[in-house]
Subunit: 299 residues, 2 copies
């Protein structure tokens, strides 16, 4: 069925993971990679993961009739950036997490230096994937992807959001500040994911903007759902330690407004996301179903 | 005088630093960057530095008659990558250095989390600089720069070399292994610097390869000179703690072969570098003088 999120997500997972294995096995285009470094990159990239951001790239492109290896390459590049951010965020100097997706974090399974370098290498590799002609025959499309990913992942995007998040452990943020922080930390990559599909699909500026706004709304929904799971869920289901946000004084909308109010905000974000892709009709059904899933997930 | 290294280096410093200030002040193209993150990025990028890699980009391009802001942008992007690597290398989990260029390292002046994120942001920013049309009007030239920088900085380049260097603290490397490690850790960015100038200067494949080989030889020369300074120099001159390599059991050619033999290798690398650019005649004089400088520097 065309708009079934779980089916679409499984397909995106399979395609992305197959390509990531190939990129980390066959490729080493630039000579041998040190064995332990490659092992840590593989541990991070190929462990269990929802592959939600790759799904968004792939399904956003499909709205414009585009499918194939190029799209999956862009999805894989984004997953490299997402995984690098998890590796660095988990470090002792950052969130100091021992467990991620039910397994020891990279610095626990390997060591801190290897985790720092594996993260650095994953981030660097993402840009090589995007710049390769196999991603898109049009040089300007590849450059747009490089520019937008750099913007979404950098100081004005994800890394900036992580910085604000760490600062928030020391000073209380208000509603607007939490939303601004999360829009960078989580939202920027969701936004990029949807925009990247539109860019590769040669979408009009108006449709690119529409997809990007869907990414914003979906990012907010998934962040709210994550925070609700942390506040109310069980570690076994989440695959990681829960109730840590409150212990650390992490700034979340759940912490500020309470579970009931946050659940209402989640429902609203889901409705908003569905409304944004409604003009795409049946072609937007898969993304709408992803938003619906965000509203009812419990792990 | 056309081939005076110190004059050329000062000009490259001035041009690169002026542009870096502008990029980190006027630009924030993608919204406000968190103040403390930007401060750490500026602290790393705008502190004292030789700007040797930017010099190599600028002077390699000049061999092909190219000068101007685009070349300086490529030089600035490379300096972002170099500075990020210093920030991460200095971290407690890596080399654990408190002092860099005579000042507290970033994690000492700020904190570890900020240092990790500032490094991540600098690396990410480098690709945005290269992908911008202001760097070169030809999309394919910009993509080549992105691809080559990713290769030089990543798991098959600088990061891979750092990984091998850390592993070498536990197991003794032989001559070939030390050279292979240093070719990645230091050599890859030197090679990229010279190649980038050639790429932007529309050099032939043969001339690109010649410049890249010059970068290899010069990288080896500077690494040997660095290691000789560490083994014999004074901290006040080097601007950082010295005699640390031996204390840590760092793998260096000086440690393996002794000071006299390493000095001879340095002299040979300098001669080799000079010979490689000799076919460029007067246009290669500045790079030849850079190699000569590497052979006689003492700090």
């Amino acid at each position: 069925m065309a708009g079934d999120f779980q089916t679409g997500l499984k397909a995106a997972q399979a395609a992305t993971e197959t390509l990531l294995v190939r990129l980390l096995t066959d490729t080493p285009v630039d000579g041998a990679w040190p064995e332990r470094l490659l092992a840590a990159m593989r541990y991070s990239l190929l462990g269990p993961g929802k592959r939600l951001r790759p799904f968004l790239v792939i399904e956003s492109a499909r709205i414009f009739g585009l499918a194939g290896e190029g799209v999956v390459r862009a999805a894989a590049a984004l997953e490299c950036v997402h995984c690098y951010s998890l590796v660095h965020d988990d470090l002792p100097a950052m969130d100091n997490d021992d467990l991620r997706r039910g397994r020891p974090t990279v610095h626990k399974a390997f060591d801190e230096a290897t985790a720092i370098l594996a993260g650095d290498a994953l981030l660097t590799f993402a840009f090589a994937i995007l710049a390769d002609p196999a991603t898109d025959p049009d040089a300007n499309v590849r450059l747009t992807l490089v520019t937008e990913l750099s913007s979404a992942a950098g100081a004005g995007g994800m890394v900036g959001g992580q910085m604000l998040d760490l600062a928030a452990e020391k000073q209380k943020l208000d509603d607007g500040e939490i939303r601004a922080m999360q829009a960078l930390k989580t939202g920027a990559l969701f936004r990029f994911a949807c925009d990247a599909g539109a860019v590769m699909g040669r979408a009009s500026a108006e449709k690119r903007e529409r997809l990007a706004r869907f990414g914003d709304a979906l990012g907010l929904a998934f962040q709210l759902a994550d925070d609700l799971i942390d506040a109310t869920g069980k570690a076994s289901k989440a695959g990681k330690a829960t109730a840590k946000d409150a212990d650390r004084g992490k700034a979340t909308l759940v912490g500020l407004h309470g579970v009931a109010a946050a659940q209402k905000m989640l429902d609203e974000a889901v409705e908003q996301a569905i409304a944004i892709v409604a003009p795409f009709g049946a072609r937007g059904a898969m993304l709408a179903d992803a938003a619906r899933f965000a509203g009812k997930r419990d792990a």
